[in-house]
Amino acid sequence: MELEIKDLTKHFAVYERGVILRRKIGDVHAVDRVSFQIRRNETLGLVGESGCGKTTIARCMLYLEPPSSGEVFFEGKNITEIFKRANKSQVLSLRRQMQYIFQNPYASLDPRMTVADIIMEPFEVHHHLPRDQWIDRMYELLRMVGLEDYHAERYPHEFSGGQRQRICIARALAVNPKFIAADEPVASLDVSVRAQILNLLQELQQKLGITYLYISHDLSTVRHICHRVAVMYLGKIVEIAETNELFENPLHPYTVALMSAIPLPDPKHKRHRIILPGEVPSPISPPSGCRFHTRCPRRIDICSKEEPPLIEARPGHWLACYNPWPPKHVFA
């Protein structure tokens, strides 16, 4: 077991308007008591719509955002505690093991640094490599992500989106991490380039044995790259299973609707779409009971009263729903 999060909760306070004497008027329940595990060398996909708390989970795991409550365990150590104590050498050593790839490669690279500077900055921070090896290692990383040696002295603006994402990956790899949280790494890229980056991430996993948390709203890339998938809705995990199991036997009405909403690239295959009415409710005052009940086509009485627990519905397939679809339900 590489990583485990237990009852992770993150609330953001909301204040009334104004500058002085602002009263707190509520909490955004971004993530609410979420638990899951990521195994070594595994890619766990975290799927859901915008605002459901995917990014917040990843940020809390790496303590870029202190969680309101709950713990994160990395190789058996309670890393939330370590980050909280803020012992500099311990924190840096954790940062070397856990890295983050941001969604937007246009905003996450300093425009005034050359690619060589960007990739070597982690060496400067962590001092985990003797200085005479920096240049060689930098070129090695460049080649590893499919860039050329002459790219080293260029600036980020000279690159396309796909190439920038490669630079971000090289920077993350500079400290030899064991775990990388990739936050929508291909969302801002073109389809033809998307495939290149996904293949690169997979290759690196096989070569270096990295564990990924892959955050995405796009189920088709998730199916391709992930071993297990967790589906989120409004700060809660509603379903989590092995990728093939989840795609063949989606049980939660939200998962089924999400899958049916994706247009298939096959003009002959026109399937019935489940159109969810309305929009995701506000996370400031989430609906009572099951948070999905306001839009759910299969809701029953209990759904609005009690919150369904996450239970193992089939072997390795966890589900939080009182009235799931039957297994092998085909939504075509």
Partner: protein, 331 residues
């Protein structure tokens, strides 16, 4: 087949920048028939949006349409005066922009923005326009339109804003709608709602649509015919079924196979090597040749003709006769 509503021929729109002339659209030919949906697909920088902007003549500076004809219901739009064009924009050809958050004016209420379009093109009173605005909001599936009509854009979600942009496009009953990636900024479940709405409205108002997208799934789902663009040029045109089942251009084949499939898991996604070319110095000959796995010497030397190959299909490739391309998605 019904008659042509819009036919664009040999359209060239260039951007005169300090770095050089960017040939964003370089010889695009396409046509839209009455009541049909034409998909315009391609990667970013392939000239999809500039083509749409050229049609309604709102190309931003330093861009200029330098050549071509745009025939719309018997008139060449490129020959009209600006004031004649203003009667067409919004009234006969409407535009749904990509990003719903930046296209509505934040200082006007939803109702004001809709009535502005209506009173601009139709001789009706403000009150009548207002009641029509409420009706339009209802027809695009907005709950409580009487309340929404007095709200401001920042009070609304992305999906609702996109519905308002659609309502605004429909307000003068246009014959053609140019929809520029209308669902790209939205979540999948909201995207499904909007796509369904567009299909429904197309039936109800019998309006033709040019749907710009980079998502092959949306094309398969909503479009009757499709034109594939690459680096400012047409690769091929055909009905959605023809293009998806029997692609004739290597770029279409590559594009279809690089889409990760929901139904099928492959070990490795096939990729199109390289990136979209620089359009200041586009590659010689066929613009796709540096990334094409079937390229020959002729592709480097000579730009192929856009050939009509029967069945209403157009192909822009030297080797379409000899190549046997397969479709990664045909079932």
């Amino acid at each position: 087949m019904s008659e042509k509503l819009l036919s664009v021929e040999g359209l060239r729109t260039y951007f005169y920048t300090y770095a050089g002339v960017v040939k964003a659209v370089d010889g695009v030919t396409l046509d839209v028939r009455k009541g049909e949906t034409l998909g315009l697909v391609g990667e970013s920088g392939s000239g999809k949006s500039v083509t749409a902007q050229s049609i309604i003549r709102v190309v931003p500076t330093p861009g200029k349409t330098v050549e071509g004809t745009i025939e719309f219901e018997g008139r060449n739009l490129l020959k009209l005066t600006e004031s004649e064009m203003q009667h067409i924009r919004g009234k006969e050809i409407a535009y749904i922009p990509q990003d719903p958050t930046t296209t509505l004016d934040p200082v006007y209420s939803v109702g004001d923005q809709l009535t502005e379009v209506i009173t601009r093109h139709q001789p009706v009173s403000k009150q009548f326009a207002r009641s029509k605005a409420v009706e339009l909001l209802r027809s695009v599936g907005i709950a409580d339109p009487e309340i929404r009509v007095n709200q401001y854009p920042h009070e609304l979600s992305g999906g609702t804003k996109q519905r308002i942009a659609i309502a605004r496009a429909l307000s003068c009953e246009p014959t053609l709608i140019l929809a520029d990636e209308p669902t790209t900024a939205l979540d999948v479940t909201i995207q499904a709602q909007i796509l369904e709405l567009l299909k429904e409205l197309k039936q109800k108002f019998n309006v033709a649509m040019v749907l710009i997208t980079h998502d092959m799934g949306i094309v398969a789902d909503t479009c009757d015919r499709v034109t594939v663009l690459y680096a400012g040029q047409v690769c091929e045109t055909g009905t959605t079924e023809q293009v998806f089942e029997n692609p004739k251009h290597p770029y279409t084949e590559a594009l279809l196979s690089s889409v990760p499939s929901l139904a099928l898991r492959k070990d490795k996604l096939s990729v199109i090597p390289g990136t979209v070319p620089n359009l200041i110095h586009p590659p010689s000959g066929c613009r796709f040749h540096p990334r094409c796995s079937y390229a020959r010497q002729i592709c480097v030397d000579k730009d192929p003709e856009l050939e009509s190959i029967g069945d209403g299909r157009l192909v822009h490739c030297h080797r379409w006769r000899e190549l046997e391309l397969t479709s990664a998605v045909a079932s």
